[in-house]
Symmetry: C3
Subunit: 356 residues, 3 copies
């Protein structure tokens, strides 16, 4: 069916992002004005892996609009355990609900779901691939707290190699003018080269540095991320580096007075507890903006102000995705969807590129 979905933020034009961001800002001023807008509508949250926080953020957004929520978070109790395909689950849940929110450990699963749904689908995380509402949340937060999405010097600190959140934010921010990035990490946790390519292709200045302390002074925004202990070569290495990347009051002394500290949360100990009361710390506010961002998205998916997502034409032969985490590995009935031509093809589900 020809329906609007949110699978990948890049499926939308930047002008549509701006509408979403503006609406979220409006909602944040008085959320209660939007209560009742979706009275009688039902959201189904299909969580093929548990993520209570994300599920609650969508539930809250729907309830604050006056809608209702059903869903599951443990496929072992559901028909999935009896061998039901993603397609069947989506088709049935489309008959129950008015909007689907899907989280799934396989990449491309949300795209796959959107092919069979008879209502809008929101991607709430498809493996390590995309999590567009987190990125939308970050954009809303930046806009609300800095007043603009342009001409910002943004520091990103921590595990830049594995952080889906960081990659998505960078890919989004290159679309706005005049932004500069300071990528703060160890050598082992550097940003992947394909992200550097994107920054360069878009003419965005960036530098890669080792020391948070040295970099912090020039930043308008500091985006902190969690470094998982197991990313380090040893316990000693962890302890040594951890202190370099922990934001504390001392390091904050060097920061601008209007610098804003963001974090996708949950944090463990990469931001010292004492920082929480600093007015520059906005990570808890950021979590609240996540509700308004999702409210704006849901509203615009319902009111027709977002365009129907294009469904690519299946091709025959010549391609099968090699990504072992791609949803096409387990759902064999999925049509053969890829784009590109010549030597370089890209899987429409998981975005994996393959050189033929």
């Amino acid at each position: 069916m020809n329906l609007p979905h949110l699978i990948d933020l890049d499926d939308l034009q930047v002008a549509q992002w701006e509408k979403l961001i503006m609406l979220a800002g409006e909602i944040s001023k008085k959320p209660s004005d939007y209560f009742g807008r979706l009275s009688g509508k039902i959201m189904a949250t299909l969580f093929y892996e548990p993520s209570t926080r994300t599920q609650m953020s969508f539930q809250t957004a729907m309830l604050r609009l006056g809608g209702e929520v059903i869903g599951f978070d443990n496929p072992q109790n559901s028909s999935v355990a009896k061998g039901e395909s993603l397609k069947d689950t989506v088709k049935i849940m489309s008959g129950y609900a008015d909007i689907l929110v899907i989280r799934h450990p396989y990449e491309g699963s949300a795209k796959a779901a959107s092919l069979y749904a008879s209502c809008p689908v929101i991607n709430a995380g498809d493996g390590g691939h995309l999590h567009p509402t987190q990125t939308l949340t970050d954009l809303v937060t930046l806009k609300q707290e800095k007043g603009r999405l342009t001409n910002l010097t943004i520091g990103l600190c921590g595990d830049l190699k594995n952080g889906r959140t960081v990659h998505s934010l960078l890919k989004a921010m290159v679309k706005f003018k005049g932004n500069r990035f300071v990528l703060i990490s160890t050598e082992e946790l550097r940003i992947p080269s394909y992200i550097r390519d994107i920054l360069q292709a878009n003419g965005c200045p960036f530098e890669e540095v080792f020391s948070l302390e040295e970099a912090i002074g020039e930043l308008d925004v500091l985006y902190m991320t969690r470094i998982q202990k197991e990313r380090f070569s040893s316990e000693e290495e962890y302890k040594r580096q951890n202190s370099i990347y922990t934001l504390d009051e001392k390091k904050l002394e060097r920061a601008k007075l209007d610098m804003k500290i963001m974090h996708p949360l949950p944090r463990v100990d990469e931001i010292a507890d004492a920082v929480d009361t600093d007015p520059r710390a906005i990570y808890f506010k950021q979590a609240a903006y996540g509700i308004y961002a999702r409210m704006a998205l849901i509203l615009m998916l319902f009111d027709g102000s977002l365009p129907a997502t294009a469904i690519p034409k299946p091709r025959t032969g010549g391609f099968s995705c090699l990504n072992l985490h791609c949803i096409t590995q387990t759902e064999k009935y999925l049509p053969n969807l890829y784009k590109g031509s010549g030597d370089m093809l890209e899987c429409e589900y998981c975005s994996q590129r393959i050189l033929i």
Copy 2:
């Protein structure tokens, strides 16, 4: 208390079935017209074994009527784990909610619950015994999609021995005139003899055949069911027979153009994926009719248009149910309820018959 419940479809008159089916049909035309009818009412779903799909269908039905839902699906987390009796749980939940939906692995549990509830009880599956809202869903689907419940040639295919759904549907359809049944299965998975007895007692023509391919041409309705792999004697036997009972495009070529394909879902591979786009495939619609059937049922339980369920008088002595899956095995306080006289008695909870 003297309350209407839905424990067994046979507790209602066929005229009442017809009212339910008609109301479900009305609701299916514009479900949103019914939103708000049960505003302020609460449904409690007491799921003593998880069945996410069934639980969600009831939740959806209640939410679409404007009501709210509480409940559990994992008795290990509840007071049940501390040794609370079914009676106590039901009495307490009756004080919380306005309608109870119970699913339980023991046969007769819903009947037992209805003895103690101070609000209507719906049976959402009591072991292998009854699942009346599935049967009601099938009747609503037949009525909506075939326009009638009479003079139909209905094929039932797959595991006819173990399928509670199939047995209930047959027992329901014998009450309507002019229906003929084609029972398609292997010798091992034949319909039980007590169902054949019912068909004969009601004067319903039926035949038992082996080949779906040969039978399909004469059917108005084909009701497919899942055959569990473990029902077969060997892996080879499974593979050989599975293809005989898989509905695919080739077999469909022999079917009437207005034959309808039903399935209680979830399916695994007994219907080929390619069949989904055939207009005769209505199994996903059937799932949606399940919502309307449940909405109709809930509405009629609340508005007084269904009669109070008769509570049989306890008898003393002489009988104790021998069915090891009967709820009377674990809930020892239950009154001694059976019907019949002379040599043949029937347990009022689980319907087990005992020859004295």
Copy 3:
């Protein structure tokens, strides 16, 4: 923030208890009159240990007021499993919801949560420490069913040593005039000495007896509790004593005609099934009063008729709680809060007293 919370019933004046009890009584007459009062408001139930019954009682109360509910009951699926602190979870959930209900295995956790919440917090059980809404439920039940909270002879029977419910009820009832207590238990399960001290300090007459049968005749109220099998020295001891403390029809013959039987539920076999139909048995009603008590509490937390809970000033040095079940053991950032002076200090979180 300066907000009203319900952490400990003792944080409120008795006059405020009486307002709550009166409002709950009003609600019990026609609960549907209160539907819609909290339309658009969201409750978050943060259950760090599962307790389905308690969680459902709060959900029901909120839904009956027209509000909505989100929450978790299994921290393994939530950000807590990733190492998130109680503080962070509370700060984020405050941004989602309008009121928090917390249950946690550590003592003092609800107090700790209230320090960081930007909305009211209700304690739904913090380890073995407090469970104020259970006590409020008992007070509402007594007032509704006996007409007064004064001049009552109240028997408490069973495990008086370990029962948090019993301790809280006694501590509450000493505040009303003319009550007398009959404490019925084995020697091993006697009431703790600190409770006896409280009774004496408040000039409340009480006696400790062994036999339920002998004591029952003089009681206005009999509050039964569950004795866990593992509290007895042996299986024989359990069987012997169990019959002494089981309330059955025979023992009831000696009771006053207007005596009321209460029980916090779930029961196992300490009240015989046949007692349920005796008009003196009000334990299922008591469960329903729990809904009205919580509705009254939630309403009064929202409408400003309860005072902001005082936040004690942190002190420096000299004290760290020795209670291994105190929340300060695991949440190291918590400020150092204790009261008292001189030799005797008391932890503001878990109420543990320490002689310096």
